[in-house]
């Protein structure tokens, strides 16, 4: 059974029914904001996203634009194990694995695409990665593209190390490290 609740609205009084006064009252509020902001634009809460970046708190749980970490020789740390692709609920990761001719790592991603237009920024890929090769710690919020192609991240623009990043062997999520260090 659906229970029905009856609402008795207060009947409108005469002034409200005439309507004109209420309109003017509403416009007054809008105008007040308009002039206050015109005189004092510093107080505006609006920012010009995406041209104007927002400073983000350095939080370990922050999930921003992905990157693929690099080894000392510039090769991707990723070994194309497909675990991130498996974990991704939005099916936005596309990997094509290939055999490295000399490298003992054997397997590497010849193609590694993330379609940010589909990504839900859940961070599951980072969780899944057994090599700690993918991270979402760039501090950039993706979005605001004019054409969809701009939202397709390829291996070339995913591969980067953060400035001053230490040797990557065994490095965990940098922000997570900072967060943990702060706890000590």
């Amino acid at each position: 059974m659906i229970s029905v609740k009856k609402v008795n609205n207060r009947p409108l009084n005469l002034l409200e029914r005439i309507y004109v006064w209420e309109i003017a009252r509403g416009l007054l509020v809008t105008m007040r904001h308009f002039f206050v902001n015109l005189v004092n634009p510093k107080g505006l809460p609006t920012i010009q996203y995406p041209e104007q970046p927002i400073p983000l708190p350095g939080n370990a749980r922050l999930r921003t634009r992905h990157r693929l970490k690099m080894r000392a020789d510039g090769a991707p740390k990723c070994v194309a194990c497909f675990l991130c692709q498996t974990a991704c609920p939005a099916l936005c990761i596309h990997i094509e694995a290939a055999e490295h001719p000399e490298n003992l790592v054997e397997k590497y991603p010849a193609v590694f695409n993330i379609d940010l237009a589909r990504c839900v920024m859940c961070g599951m890929c980072v969780e899944a990665c057994p090599e700690d090769a993918i991270a979402m710690d760039t501090g950039e919020i993706p979005g605001g593209a004019v054409v969809r192609e701009e939202l397709l991240m390829t291996k070339e623009n995913l591969l980067r190390n953060l400035p001053g990043e230490p040797s990557l062997v065994g490095a965990a999520n940098r922000l997570a490290n900072e967060y943990l260090r702060g706890k000590e």
Partner: protein, 490 residues
């Protein structure tokens, strides 16, 4: 017939049955690595340890024969502890490189670790004995000694099934490793079975290497059309692409699969796969090509001939027979194929390379037609102007047709199959993309299954024939594959 009790349930088994097989009869699974139902017992991995009452220590279930009154425990604390220990032992020197290992997802070590162990190793990574990493061990196999658990299934397979004995265990103790004998390579025609047999990622397929992760693959049971043996197989595919074929073991024909059969999936996505028809080597849509073909058939009225094919399913042959009889209205057709059949190499490969020679007989029984000899004579006689057939079957009458300069309408899936002289080449769906009935050399009737979608616009052969007939002005009403089998004595 000894009577024994396993986990409190009694079972009677024929003398000589091992404990592992006796447990299997009760539906009790005992983990194993070296045991394989079709290979000799080796008892080397110790994964199958079970407790037998009054026995001084645990025994290996795969090599202990059942005896009267035995009381076996397969899940006691002692057994579980033993399994954990065996796994820890097998993993001591294992490289744990699952992220780059193709076996991941179907690996015996991963599965049993999750089922029976979940324990941290007490051995340091630095102490691991390093062995040789990947190397090619033949045209189809990659060998990684570090991942090997020395179950010797591969060695026994080469010794007992192919009898080629390419492999051997070298050295002793923790230095042992599997190696090829001096100057040998694993090219015995059945080598990819080793990749299936290997419970870990030591032997993996070079063809499948890094192409797809095992857990993405969907499995469709179907049959192999590599020869008249007609092995049951599984096509493993993902997002419309077949990645590999593996055997589907069955009592009638096969436990294994030959390397040639495993590669037959490649034609499906080969670069020369026809997505359109060809008229005089020029690509053209199917519809206009069929109209063109129908016109040519019209011209040749009475001088057309149709040849079936032992490479086509019963349905498609029946459709061709209907085309000849009811649409082209000719008696010049032939569904008479015979070939010496039987296993050629004592394992699987058949003397008859065509998968459906036996199946064409049922078509002949219903529709009659000329014998292949008469048909070839007819072609050579010069009375025939146009011939409709399938690319491989054309090979059987090639000499006669060429000499008489007959116009060829050829059904083909790949450009490479079709003879260069063909007037029209009509594409059709491969049997990985559509159902078809095939009769193997034992007379077993088996169906292929559609594992993947055909390329856009490509239809099964019977449907193409149906269209062709309607362009020729005679409806055959073949609107489904079973429809083509109508009236057939099956």
């Amino acid at each position: 017939m000894p009577n024994l009790t396993i986990d409190g349930r009694s079972v009677e088994v024929p003398a000589g049955t091992t404990l592992l097989e006796a447990a299997q009869r009760l539906g009790i699974y005992i983990p194993r690595y070296c045991y394989h139902p079709k290979l000799s017992v080796s008892g080397s991995c110790r994964m199958c340890l079970v407790e037998v009452e009054k026995a001084p220590k645990l025994v290996t279930a795969c090599s202990t024969e059942a005896a009267e009154g035995m009381r076996v425990l397969t899940a006691s604390e002692k057994v579980r502890q033993a399994r954990r220990d065996v796994l820890e032992y097998l993993l001591i020197n294992h490289p744990l490189d699952c992220p780059i290992c193709d076996q991941a997802g179907e690996c015996g070590l991963q599965d049993y670790y999750m089922d029976y162990s979940l324990r941290k190793s007490r051995f340091e990574a630095e102490d691991k004995i390093l062995r040789q990493k990947r190397r090619a061990a033949g045209p189809y196999l990659m060998l990684d000694n570090e991942r090997c658990i020395l179950c010797t299934r591969c060695v026994r397979f080469c010794g007992e099934v192919t009898k080629t004995a390419e492999l051997e265990v070298m050295e002793r103790g923790d230095r042992s490793f599997i190696d090829l004998k001096e100057g040998r390579a694993l090219d015995n025609g059945y080598s990819l079975n080793i990749a299936d047999l290997c419970p870990v990622g030591a032997f993996t397929s070079r063809d499948f290497r890094f192409k797809a992760r095992a857990w993405f693959l969907k499995r469709t049971p179907t049959i192999c059309l590599g020869c008249a043996t007609g092995c049951e197989i599984e096509a493993h595919h993902y997002e419309g692409t077949i990645y590999r074929l593996v055997p589907h073991p069955n009592a009638e024909t096969n436990t294994w699969l030959c390397d040639h059969g495993r590669m037959t999936y490649k034609a499906v996505r080969a670069g020369d796969r026809l997505g359109k028809a060809l008229i005089r080597k020029g690509l053209i849509d199917l519809e206009p090509a069929l109209r063109e073909t129908a016109t040519r058939l019209e011209e040749a009225k009475g001088a057309a001939a149709v040849l079936g094919s032992p490479w086509l399913s019963v349905e498609d042959n029946a459709a061709l027979a209907r085309l000849a009889k009811d649409s082209v209205k000719t008696a010049n057709y032939c569904f008479d194929f015979s070939a010496e059949q039987g296993i050629k190499d004592g394992i699987l490969v058949n003397k008859d390379p065509a998968p459906n020679t036996a199946g064409t007989r049922t078509v002949k029984a219903l529709y009659g037609g000329l014998s292949l000899e008469e048909f070839t004579g007819l072609l050579a006689g010069g009375k025939i102007k146009i011939l409709i057939t399938e690319a491989k079957a054309y090979g059987l009458v090639k000499a006669a047709a060429e000499a008489a300069g007959i116009r060829l309408i050829i059904f083909a899936r790949n450009r490479g199959e079709a003879p260069a002289a063909a007037y029209a080449v009509l594409p059709y769906a491969s049997y990985f993309e559509t159902e078809g009935t095939f009769v193997n050399y034992q007379g077993l009737r088996r169906m292929t299954a559609a594992a993947v979608e055909p390329p856009q616009g490509i239809k099964p052969l019977w449907a193409v024939v149906n269209k062709l007939a309607s362009y020729s002005g005679a409806e055959l009403h073949l609107d489904s594959a079973p429809r083509a089998l109508k009236d057939m004595d099956f």
